[in-house]
């Protein structure tokens, strides 16, 4: 069958034929079609199944508010579940499948649920599946979960790219219907910086769906002319296929542009969608209105649609759902649908109008004061049963029924900042309230101006007002100006299985039960029945539910509640919010200056924050990482090793008050540090806990270089700026990060001086006398390159840190390796670094975990009581100074071969092993080549007084219990002779 339901006219390109597949059957369509219109044109009414009862479902609407016509689009790793057929722009080769059915759409096994619907009422699951208790998780829940959900993910990585972008404008106009276009023309002609966004691929809104005239041409012609004029204005940006999804604080709007969804395939590197953050001075919501249905018995059969949707399909897409159509309405707009379809040659079975005084028509029958009382048709509508005004019943044969219960303004975005719409009695609908997001105003049907003239006028007026334009209104095209008053008619009395939420299968009966059981507030109603929780977010169902609840409660609708909406306006792919930040690009990668060299050396890298650092440097023949690490440690301690420590934060602290400033920042004293000297510094948070540690080198009277740990570099800088600007604003001190400016390498081991002497320019004396432990200074290397040298040691060996401008870091590392050959120099990575610092008993990240005090780390005496420093006062609280406070200790296995597990808990040698008897825990552990056994650092209650005590280190989660001895944390060279050598 080829497009048997095509009508004449429309805005489709008949010259081009596109092929597509639905449920593996091939069909044809034309550019300008949506999947929905193409399916209707091919006489496909059955598209899906509902969530709970698996009832047959067809299209209800022609827009993004669609609850029923949702499909799985595309194939393979581009499979896209729950996609609204009404918004899928047709492309050649499109493939779509129905979902939530098995084995097939026509014969769905779970349709049996419909037979049991009387048991599966709202909230039934809260009342049952409780006995026996174990069955819930073993039987009931797995059963429910298997039935859950609609479409399926491919389970494969999404291959497409997504972008994020930022746009700015004076006026954002949301929606390009009559109001939006007129507003854009008004603002654009005045020279304002305008963005006009619309979710549709064709701008014009309902103008594209109507048959009436604007000026001398059709409404669609006028829309096309307006778009052409706007396109020519350099100050106006048109964004079709762009849904404004949310109104966020201070005039920021989120918008999703579908740049690739209408294409069969994307060119390489082009995004499928772009998430725009639009910064606006003012914004104008012209989102139109959505027709609302009427609830009646069995109103959910495929073929029963909103009347305006039937009209859109006929006028814009040149198609009809059936050749014989009836309309059920409570207002004049429904009659427009009948007239338009009739004009296109579709047989109108009748117009059923609840109003006794409905207008009559000579082309087809109008049943005044009549209501639809039931419908028939297994997989699609075939008959409607009508209760006539005189009490008799009549059955009409028809393949489609257009339903019109009036219109609801699309107020969604006005609610995004918790604004509440207000009830308008004339319209019998909620209209935007007064508490709109700041900067936003509303025009056109979204503001209750339902006639075309009203929308055009309101668009122009609102644009002028938003931009504060003077002068008279622009000329408006002549357009219909039908009165907008509506008399509500929500549901046919006596109906029971009458659907409100067609996707989630919420019926009038469920609302009644909800009321009966006390779930009467709107929020309770929604949550108890799941009304409005489906993928359409209740755009066509919330109002009906609310109206029925109001009637049951004997209150007015506004007394009962309002329906408010949250972002996003329509669902957005998760990938769109993520943009490019995925895979390896999730976070920026920071490379050290020696990275390319290390890569050549075959280093294994590890993520440390955003940095990639060399973890170890395996040599050929080494099969286990421990071999490499042990070698690096041994060789460093035996001769000399080099490690890139550029990642440590470096902050230049300058100014005449620099020393006084550091005195406040560090808990230990810095005022008296001599120029050319470095000192270890311990930094507390104001709550007395250790924030960070590092060194401060005094390069000049008014110039320090402060180092921080890699992890805390950013936080410490921020903290120092806080102290500088907010606490001591009159200190003469200036801060700047120089972390990246300098490539800094630790050169450690007994031969480190000898190695450095080969590259440090001869005029600089780096002998033990000329450059003693903790010395620092500006030097030059390799014939005049400026450099900084610090005699500090993390490894416990004689050691230096040398820094050169980063661009020379690669060359310096190569030079150190070349010059060091005679000393058997070894590059070492973060693992060996970690081993050596544990052997030396230096606290690092595992100990500086934000809950340790200076006292815990064995540095309690460093906290000076003679001066004010951040954290010193609160560090004195009793709870932080108890006799059994944790103290850092060393941990050694009693048996040389036992392993220490970081994260293991310390228990007394005898007695129970449980939380009540916990004595502390191992913070860090490593194999020590120096001691030839595993060692660890730990925090132990009253640890300072427990040296030599035998304890148990237990780690039930790794199934280990080890007998250990508590020892000093300084395993290697406790007197510090090596580093002073």
């Amino acid at each position: 069958m080829t497009q048997g339901n095509r009508l004449s006219g429309g805005q489709i390109d008949r010259n081009t034929t596109l092929n597509f597949k639905f449920d593996n059957r091939s069909y044809t369509a034309h550019p300008g079609d949506t999947l929905a219109s193409a399916l209707l044109a091919n006489n496909v009414r059955l598209i899906g199944r509902s969530f709970k009862y698996h009832r047959p479902r067809g299209l209800l609407t022609a827009g993004s508010e669609e609850p029923n016509g949702i499909v799985e689009l595309r194939t393979g790793n581009r499979q896209e579940p729950n996609t609204r057929a009404t918004t899928i722009e047709m492309f050649d080769g499109l493939e779509a499948r129905s979902q939530n059915r098995w084995p097939s759409l026509k014969f769905d096994a779970l349709a049996i649920n419909d037979r049991f619907s009387n048991f599966l009422t709202a909230g039934f699951y809260y009342k049952t599946f409780m006995w026996p208790a174990a069955f819930w998780e073993k039987l009931y829940e797995p059963m429910i979960r298997r039935a859950a959900g609609l479409g399926s993910l491919s389970m494969q990585e999404d291959p497409d790219e997504y972008d994020k972008g930022f746009r700015h404008c004076d006026l954002l106009i949301i929606g390009a219907g009559p109001a939006g276009l007129m507003a854009a023309l008004t603002a654009g002609r005045a020279g304002a910086d305008v963005i006009l966004a619309d979710e549709d691929f064709a701008l014009g809104g309902r103008l594209n769906s109507e048959s009436f005239a604007l000026n001398d041409g059709t409404a669609a012609d006028w829309a096309a002319q307006a778009v052409a004029e706007l396109s020519a204005l350099p100050n106006v940006r048109l964004m079709p296929r762009t849904t404004v999804i949310g109104a966020f604080d201070h005039g920021i709007y989120g918008a999703v542009e579908r740049t690739g969804d209408h294409l069969a395939s994307l060119p390489a590197g082009k995004p499928r969608q772009i998430l725009w953050r639009i910064y606006t001075k003012r914004s104008l919501l012209c989102a139109g209105a959505t027709e609302r249905p009427i609830a009646f018995e069995n109103n959910d059969r495929p073929g029963i649609m909103l009347a305006s949707a039937l009209r859109t399909y006929a006028n814009r897409f040149a198609t009809t759902a059936a050749q014989r159509v009836a309309v059920f309405t409570n207002n004049d707009d429904g009659h427009r649908t009948a007239a338009d379809l009739h004009a296109k040659g579709v047989k109108i079975a009748a117009v059923i109008d609840v109003r006794p005084d409905a207008p009559i028509n000579h082309d087809y029958e109008v049943l005044r004061g009549a209501q639809v009382s039931d419908t028939k048709g297994r997989l699609g509508l075939s008959f409607v049963e009508i209760a006539l005004a005189d009490g008799s019943t009549r059955v009409l044969e028809c393949g489609a029924l257009g339903v019109s219960g009036g219109w609801n303004p699309n107020v969604h975005l006005t609610c995004h900042q918790r604004g509440r719409p207000v009830w308008n009695d004339d319209l019998a609908a909620f209209v935007p309230g007064t508490d709109l997001p700041p900067g936003l105003s509303v025009a056109g049907a979204a503001n209750g101006a339902f006639s075309t003239h009203g929308a055009l006028r309101s668009g122009a007026e609102s644009a002028m007002k938003a931009l504060d334009l003077k002068g008279s209104l622009p000329d408006l095209p002549a357009a219909e100006d039908a009165p907008a008053s509506q008399t509500p008619f929500w549901y046919v009395q006596g109906c029971s299985r009458a659907w409100l939420d067609q996707q989630n299968d919420v019926t009038v009966k469920d609302v009644k039960l909800s009321h009966q059981e006390g779930f009467r507030s709107v929020e309770h109603l929604k949550r108890y029945t799941t009304l409005g929780m489906a993928t359409d977010q209740g755009k066509t169902s919330n109002m009906g539910g609310l109206a029925i609840m109001a009637e049951l409660a004997g209150k007015s609708i506004p007394e009962t509640g309002t329906t408010i909406f949250r972002p996003p306006y329509t669902p957005v792919p998760i990938a769109t919010f993520a943009g490019r930040m995925k895979g390896k690009e999730f976070h920026p990668t920071r490379l050290t200056p020696s990275h390319y060299w290390a890569k050549e050396r075959g280093a294994v890298f590890v993520e440390v924050g955003n940095w990639l650092r060399a973890q170890w440097f395996p040599l050929p023949g080494e099969t286990h990482w421990r071999e490499s690490v042990d070698r690096e440690v041994r060789q460093t301690r035996a001769s000399v090793g080099v490690c890139d420590c550029t990642t440590l934060g470096k902050i230049d602290v300058q100014g005449s008050d620099a020393a006084a400033f550091l005195n406040r920042i560090y808990c230990n004293g810095f005022a008296k540090l001599a120029v050319g000297k470095t000192r270890y510094g311990l930094m507390l948070r104001e709550d007395g806990m250790v924030m960070d540690d590092g060194t401060a080198a005094r390069l000049a009277e008014d110039h320090f270089v402060v180092t921080t740990t890699t992890a805390n570099a950013v936080g410490v800088y921020r903290h120092m700026e806080f102290v500088r600007q907010c606490l001591f604003p009159d200190m003469d001190v200036q801060l700047i990060s120089t972390t990246e400016a300098w490539a800094q390498y630790a050169v450690a081991g007994p031969n480190s001086r000898k190695l450095l002497q080969k590259i440090v320019d001869p005029e600089f004396d780096i002998s033990n006398e000329g450059f003693p432990f903790m010395a620092c200074g500006n030097i030059t290397v390799c014939g005049g390159l400026r450099a900084r040298l610090f005699r500090i040691s993390f490894s416990g060996e004689l050691a230096f840190e040398i820094a050169v401008p980063s661009r020379y870091g690669d060359a310096l590392m190569r030079r150190l390796m070349a010059e060091g050959e005679e000393f058997n120099v070894v590059p070492y990575g973060t693992e060996a670094l970690g081993v050596m610092r544990i052997e030396k008993g230096h606290a690092a990240g595992n100990e500086l975990n934000g809950t340790t005090t200076a006292l815990n780390l064995g540095m309690g005496r460093m906290v000076s009581k003679k001066k004010d420093s951040i954290g010193s006062t609160l560090s004195e609280r009793e709870g932080l100074n108890e006799p059994d406070a944790l103290m850092m200790v060393g941990i050694k296995p009693v048996s040389q071969t036992d392993k220490i597990t970081a994260g293991g808990h310390l228990m007394n040698a005898t007695g129970p092993v449980d939380a009540a008897h916990d004595q502390g825990y191992a913070t860090s552990a490593a194999f020590s080549p120096a001691l030839d056994c595993h060692i660890g650092l730990g925090l132990l209650k009253n640890g300072g007084a427990r040296m030599g005590e035998k304890m148990r280190l237990v780690s039930p989660v790794t199934d280990l219990t080890v007998e250990v001895e508590i020892v000093s944390a300084h395993f290697v060279d406790p007197e510090g002779e090596r580093l002073r050598a």
């Binding site: 790219e161 082009k270 930040m581 920071r590 290397v781 390799c782």
Partner: protein
């Protein structure tokens, strides 16, 4: 003269240049940088001294001025001085000499990577990168902004010609982001 050979921020011996459509992105290693922060109470003197160094009044908020030695505003009474690397590798020393004790100076040359982005459609690339309204930027405008989580500076050198300074260690990530935006937009 020392004998160490520099590499660029992207790790090459030569700067990287990429063109997509009308837009070219060039890595620019030939630039020396030094930060200048006025000492407390010496703000006016520092600005004067800076003016002397760059040959034009110290840049106002959000601006850059001067050639060949230029400066851009980075914070209250703070600037970044920029000059050709070959002639000014010791820029920090020169700046310190010029500013004396009116300001703190730090070498910043290798703290940053610079990419120059130019071409007719450059705005379409920039709007995928940063929240600045680059359309409104004029020659001589400079602003700090995040690009893909990186703290950067964007300088408008001329209509359709911008410089982006980003953290040197993340040069690869920043370059990737710029090239991806170029492919996407052009």
């Amino acid at each position: 003269m020392h004998d160490l050979v520099a590499i660029t921020a992207l790790g090459g011996s030569e700067p990287r240049v990429d063109t997509t459509g009308t837009v070219t992105c060039s890595e620019v290693p030939g630039v020396a940088l030094a930060s200048v922060a006025a000492r407390l109470g010496r703000e006016k003197k520092a600005a004067k001294a800076l003016a002397k160094l760059i040959g034009t009044p110290a840049p106002a908020i959000g601006r850059f001025e001067g050639a060949p030695v230029a400066a851009f505003w980075t914070g209250p009474d703070q600037w970044m001085v920029e000059a050709p690397f070959d002639s000014h590798e010791d820029l920090a020393e020169q700046a310190k000499a010029a500013l004396g004790d009116t300001a703190s100076v730090s070498e910043q040359t290798d703290a940053w990577v610079r990419f120059d982005l130019s071409g007719a459609d450059v705005l379409a690339v920039l709007e995928l990168l940063c929240p600045l309204d680059a359309r409104k930027m004029e020659e001589g405008d400079a602003a700090g902004t995040p690009i893909h989580h990186l703290g950067c500076f964007v300088l408008c050198r001329a209509p359709e010609a911008f410089s982006i300074y980003g953290p040197r260690s993340s040069a690869g990530s920043l370059n990737h982001a710029i090239l991806a935006a170029m492919t996407s937009a052009l």
